[in-house]
């Protein structure tokens, strides 16, 4: 009986880990082709709690980041940061990303 419980526990843990995901946030902003604009936006976002793996695609005008595990970044905070940088956010979308291992999770921009 104990063996069965252990096996079930291991299976449940594995399934949970397999489905564990972080949310990737994609923010579309006009005018990011200017480096002062792009890095200014970056400067505002790195101060937000819960933001990691911040990247800016200057050509496409898209800022992306992942939410730290267990944390959520509100749309209000996102829009506020974009406005503080002098922009108007056009579109905010979300995609799921599988939680990476420790090495990748700690990668900074």
């Amino acid at each position: 009986m104990k063996h069965i419980i252990y096996i079930i526990a291991i299976l449940l843990f594995s399934i949970t880990a397999a489905f564990a995901q972080q949310r990737q946030v994609n923010v579309r902003v006009d005018g990011l082709s200017c480096p002062f604009c792009a890095y200014g936006l970056e400067k505002k976002f790195i101060k937000i709690d819960g933001v990691e793996n911040l990247k800016i695609d200057v050509d496409k005008g898209i800022l992306t980041f992942t939410e730290k595990e267990g944390e959520t970044v509100s749309e209000e905070d996102i829009r506020k940061a974009v406005k503080q940088a002098g922009f108007t956010p056009r579109e905010i979308t979300y995609t799921k990303q599988p939680i990476k291992d420790e090495k990748d999770r700690n990668t900074k921009r």
Partner: protein, 271 residues
Amino acid sequence: MKYHAYNIIISIVLLILLIGCSPKLKWRFSKEIPLGEISPIGIVYEDDGFWLSDAERNRILKVNFDGVIQEEYKGFHRPMHISGDDSSKIYIPEFLIDNIKVISKGRVKNIVLLEKPDAPAAIDVENDLIAVADFYNHRIILQENDTITILGTEGHGNGKLYYPTDVEIKGSLIYVADAYNNRVQVFDKQGDFIRNIGEMDSINVASGIYVSNTHVYVTDFYGNRLLVYDFGGNLIQELNEHLNKPTDVIVSEQSLYITNYGGNTIVIYKR
């Protein structure tokens, strides 16, 4: 006799016009130096090459006149418009962390600012005077020993700045690339407004400036141009060959060097 004098006057006038329009005084495209994966923002000229800031890769580079990297300093935090002095020091504003660093004899050191900027976009140094373009505070910070003078406040009128991205000390005046007011503004060292330059020339983000002994040079980022003005603000020449999102400019003798952020090149004009 009258006819002879008339001919002399006409000849003198024609000679003056000819000199004024002489091709020797006009800048002409010479060549383009490819920089590979360097996305240049700021440039400093030296006799054996250029110092460049590469904000995308957080580094400062020394390249030769073929664009080949000679020295590399990594670990900066979005270095923007850099500046050099006569002792070969390179001053670097770190846009992301509101810091100023200096490279001197191969070593990187911090410079203490008494007034903290919010995103320093440019720096210029002349003797004990430091000028910093404070991007998000829409102002220029002048620091001379322990004395701080602030130039400009946020806005669009005379004496107001809107996201300044470059600054140059020239004599008793301070020239500012007032980027998102699409012009250059000139102040004295006490902070008084002197004049605007380029306001009527449809500049689309005045990203960088250089001031020589005779002219003011302004890069027009989205207009893909370089505009040359005299000190009265009169447009002398407009350059647009091979320019792709230019961010900075410097003149040395008969050569003019422009950083192409959009094209990863340095464009050279000569006269």
